[in-house]
Symmetry: C2
Subunit: 167 residues, 2 copies
DNA sequence: ATTCGTGCAAATAGTTTGCAGCAGA
DNA sequence: TCTGCTGCAAACTATTTGCACGAAT
């Protein structure tokens, strides 16, 4: 398993300190409270870790950043945070599940470049107008199937720069 | 069986008979041969089962249709067929992996309506022009990340008609 | 004090693999 | 005949859960 540099999101005014955006903290706390759940240190560490990386990460990657977190609590807390709408689980063809912060916490509707070789996922933003067209088309098709669309996903699969170089 | 007519090239008529299209048989056989693999009865049964259902199915669903297939051989053969480019593995947020025939065998570039409640997936076709726009936009974004796009995916998540009714 | 979270260890479950026999080219 | 496919059972591994202790309200 290779080391992946933990890059910081180029978001305006984002802290580079270990602390999480106070805004995000408040939102997370209130969403947890809504479920009768507490915003404990372990959960804060998870949100922290996910804030620092701007792409979906595996549990292993999270534990590499936060080695003090026990495996079982991490699974349990990611599930809770997912229920609270704070974390989004991204399914992949690779062996490990990946997690990211929910879009409404990052204010960045994005899509994914999924490397079929190493499983790494990069975030990208497609033009808003195109995204709206996709959504409209899906809504229209869903109508025929009486399917209720909640969200959509546009992903690209292929080879990341690193894996392409290794060939 | 939901067909949504769209301006996509519907080159070949679909059979409604239980047997697999002879065309598909030939293609599958040759792709297997390319890997030094045989087109055995078990593999034929798998292709058969996937041809009959027009959506990604779980192993359990396959075995319900073809109960004579042993579990381990099914996993092994699906992996082989995937390598041969005959079968495509669809990753989901649900517990089971799902499989479908490769698009170039069905001549139907399609996308998915994924039910977040029961995990069932329906196929839909979005307008070809929109699909091309999506692809172009992803190619453009990928250029920046030096990512090589091989394929893309446009999926909708929500509630299928059946699950929506149960609420 | 009581409820909820934690962390270890053990269990679960989808998937993979070793191996002996069988079958297709 | 000779590889390679099959099918059973056993192994593997990501994830989940039971339980007793600790923390927060």
């Amino acid at each position: 398993m290779r080391m992946i540099p933990v890059g910081n999101s180029a978001k305006r005014g984002r802290l580079s300190s270990p602390a999480v955006d106070a805004d995000v903290e408040t939102t997370v706390a209130s969403r947890l409270r809504r479920l009768g759940q507490r915003f404990t240190a372990g959960r804060r560490a998870l949100v922290d870790a996910l804030t620092k990386v701007d792409r979906p990460v595996t549990i292993e990657e999270i534990l590499r950043v936060e080695p003090r977190l026990p495996l079982s609590s991490t699974y349990r807390n990611l599930a809770i945070l997912q229920q609270a709408g704070v974390v989004h689980r991204v399914s992949t063809d690779h062996e490990f599940a990946r997690f990211e912060l929910a879009e409404d916490l990052t204010d960045r509707h994005h899509h994914h470049l999924v490397c079929e070789s190493c499983g790494t996922i990069e975030d990208v933003e497609i033009p808003a107008r195109l995204d709206r067209s996709v959504r409209a088309a899906l809504d229209e098709l869903a109508r025929t199937a009486r399917f209720r669309v909640a969200s959509h996903r546009v992903d690209a699969f292929g080879l990341c720069a690193r894996c392409a170089a290794e060939r």
